[in-house]
Symmetry: C2
Subunit: 483 residues, 2 copies
């Protein structure tokens, strides 16, 4: 957190103001570059690899959309308010903390009231009595135009994909299975946001919805490409079985080839982010843990200092969404599957990725205190995820070294993320670069002026090699290949 705040990774929104609302964070210059590069990797290794179509829709959507999706009715948390001091709490969380046992957020209001009474739970702030439990809808409502039409900020990006599906399928000459992807913001009016990027009221999702023919979940054209991927699956949330995709299918851990293929593409993607895959798992959710629309669900989780963190929800949503939108809009959303000319309402399997949490996990898994070298702090980020690829450092600020360094910097800065630093000792400058994960540092010295070569120092090994200035671009380009 110290590094995040002091090095421009992320920090609270509106922080100069006393009325800054909780649950809103900004990406600073360093964090934004990591975010943009993670999104590039997602596009490369998931969207383009699988031939998905990506769209970008409005965040404000009409009331009907959320009637159809069920959010108007169901997207609520139970809240209780102190009758004396007026403090408001999320009822399920407060009770869980008090009685030391999780109670589901869907517990009916009267059951919650009964527990509060029987356990004698009172306001943590003033010991006052609570009023009865009510429901708080977590969508942000907005009013459009002078007539104040009711609309909402979307609580998940996927609703855009479902509503846009008919046009995208038709105009882009779609064939099932078809993945439609979207990167964008979603909004949830959390009662108790917490832990910087982990529970935000405004957050980034990268969602993929795979529209498929439910009778063909075992015929996937590219399945073999990924059949030997390593997957770590937990069915009980405790132990993990490490299997290949093929083994998982044969042993019954995975329900069909479609689910197996997309979990594999996801595992392959995360293995390239630098997250330690030995500290990850696909946790299969039991019936009472799954969202109401999901008949099969896996959470991709990563072990961090705050426990197991869900980064991606993988849900088989069947035809819940298209059926709902079809009913409310009175439009027929069926399509023809060209492979057999049958008319079907596609089912959907989704990979719903939290970008902010993924960044948090990547940063934490990359963080390294090097006890063998003065406890230097190093972020061991992959070059293609590092906020800055290369630092350019004149060894001293005289004898023409600054001028030469500036020329090298100018040649590199449009193609690569660079950082020019000429202040302080060379050791201090290396430390500054290592702290934000810069993989390479170029030092310009006296020899540079003689033979046009520089030293390139590698962050992790601290090894240096001499390279001709003319070969720098190619050297740096090669480092950016992700596979």
């Amino acid at each position: 957190m110290k590094l995040a705040l002091e090095k421009g990774f992320y920090f609270p929104s509106c922080e100069i103001y006393a009325d800054a609302p909780a649950g809103f964070w900004e990406y600073g210059p360093t964090g934004l570059k990591v975010k943009n590069k993670l999104i590039d990797l997602w596009r490369r290794e998931i969207v383009r690899r699988d031939g998905m179509l990506e769209i970008d829709g409005s965040q404000i959507m009409s009331r009907s959309v959320f009637e159809a999706s069920g959010h108007i009715e169901n997207f609520t948390d139970p809240v209780i308010k102190c009758t004396e001091c007026g403090s408001t709490f999320r009822a399920d969380r407060l009770i869980s903390e008090r009685i030391g046992k999780d109670i589901p957020e869907r517990t009916p209001n009267d059951e919650i009231d009964a527990i509060i009474n029987s356990e004698g739970i009172r306001c943590p702030s003033c010991k006052g009595k609570f009023g009865i439990t009510t429901r708080f809808n977590m969508m942000f409502r907005v009013e459009i135009g002078p007539s104040a039409e009711e609309a909402y900020l979307r609580p998940e990006t996927c609703q855009t994909i479902f509503v846009d599906f008919p046009r995208v399928y038709k105009t882009m000459r779609g064939k099932l299975p078809l993945g439609i992807a979207q990167l964008g913001k979603s909004f949830r009016n959390e009662i108790a946001p917490r832990q910087s990027l982990l529970r935000l009221r405004e957050f980034y999702q990268a969602e993929v919805e795979i529209f498929c023919n439910p009778s063909k979940l075992d015929s996937l054209p590219f399945f073999d490409e990924l059949s030997n991927t390593t997957l770590r699956i937990s069915t009980d949330g405790l132990s993990v079985e490490e299997v290949t995709t093929n083994e998982g299918l044969k042993g019954g851990l995975l329900p069909n080839k479609l689910v197996a293929y997309y979990l594999s593409i996801l595992a392959d993607f995360y293995s390239k982010t630098g997250i330690d895959m030995k500290r990850t798992r696909f946790r299969k959710l039991g019936e009472n843990e799954r969202a109401f629309y999901a008949s099969i669900a896996f959470d991709f989780e990563v072990e961090t200092s705050v426990g197991w963190l869900e980064l991606v929800a993988c849900n088989y949503r069947s035809d819940y969404d298209l059926r709902g939108h079809s009913t409310v809009s009175k439009q027929n959303l069926e399509v023809i599957d060209p492979s057999d000319q049958s008319k079907i309402l596609p089912h959907v399997f989704e990979l719903s990725m939290g970008i902010d949490r993924s960044i948090y996990a990547i940063l934490e898994h990359s963080f390294y205190e090097d006890s063998e070298h003065d406890d230097r702090v190093v972020l061991r980020l992959k070059p293609y995820l590092a906020p800055v690829l290369v630092g350019i450092l004149p060894l001293v600020n005289r004898n023409g070294l600054s001028e030469k360094s500036q020329i090298i910097h100018s040649e590199l800065k449009r193609e690569f993320d660079t950082y020019y630093d000429d202040s302080g000792s060379i050791g201090r400058r290396y430390r500054r670069l290592e702290q934000i994960g810069v993989p390479f540092a170029i030092t310009v010295d006296k020899i540079t002026l003689q033979d046009d070569s520089v030293t390139v120092r590698q962050r992790d090994t601290m090894q240096q090699e001499r390279i001709k200035v003319s070969g720098l671009k190619e050297y740096l380009r090669r480092s950016l290949q992700s596979s």
Copy 2:
């Protein structure tokens, strides 16, 4: 518009629903790629080129922010409501249409009422009488948490930059002049949104705020790099003078080197988008056209089928913003200028770019009906802005050509945006690619199986050349260089 709707460029949001609100549009798969590539070009040619810092902040901001910015008080349009049918109109627009003369939106309510009475203006829907003029604030209000704290969706991205300036300047070791950039969404509750991407209620801005020392507007380190850029400047909105940056400065068309430099960087950027620069101008705004905070203002405008379209507002905002935020937050936002150790409240010059409008203008300027070749419709997009860089087409679907084409496609698809098409005649497939601006089409034919070469057809010239499969990546990479 037909192409936009049918080829996945953009289309209305929530279109399957009767209550879809106006002024919200989606980018389809084709349009989104153009948008993402335009943003990449902006990052390369403006942000990285000038060494700016880019941030990404929350869209929901606290009430105090907009008290300080003046939006709570001033960001309003005059509205009138029919006393009979209840229809609501923007008063200034309705009057302007009726009396054939523009009246400023800041005209006081009682003056508007007087014009309505004296001109006898009645409701266009039902001929009813209007009530008195009121003010409609164009910000979307949201309520945060169970206590319903007042907050707003930002109406311009730059407020984030002003509020975050103190932390960014300090943690990123800033030096004046310092550009801080942001790409993101803004929201304006327009009374009458119109013309697809041109007046949206939810839209993308790419804003740059250059924080500077007002006593040093004529010492710019990189000024000479751009001093010979061609600028087209109009001081009267009718005639245009074409000058170099240097000439513009000497002749007094441009007020100082800082403004001259950043207008040049902007002109250089747009010249790379494929917009016809002969149909653009920097229009210098007169005193009563400028925003209230701007002492110098140029609009970068492009001529289109709907008239001159403002793509970028370039405003010298002086210390209006930082002073306002400093007053309301009671924080001292002054910084030390390291060049002379003076303590100053920086001034700001901004380049406020509309991304959606820029895309509209680029598409329109690229659109070409080729009367010499069957009126083929071609989007002559630059390769680095094209939604798809290369189509891969087996000449026929037999003799192993499909399999070979699939292999070539697989090798290219992670690095480049590709499109595989094997349906219909080769001529029809070329047409489909040209319509969305694909610069290259690879055809796989019998000779490919013999010597591993393909034909590469260029969209604009329709020339074909034979290239080895092993050289395709390098060929495509070269085409993506923007300068």
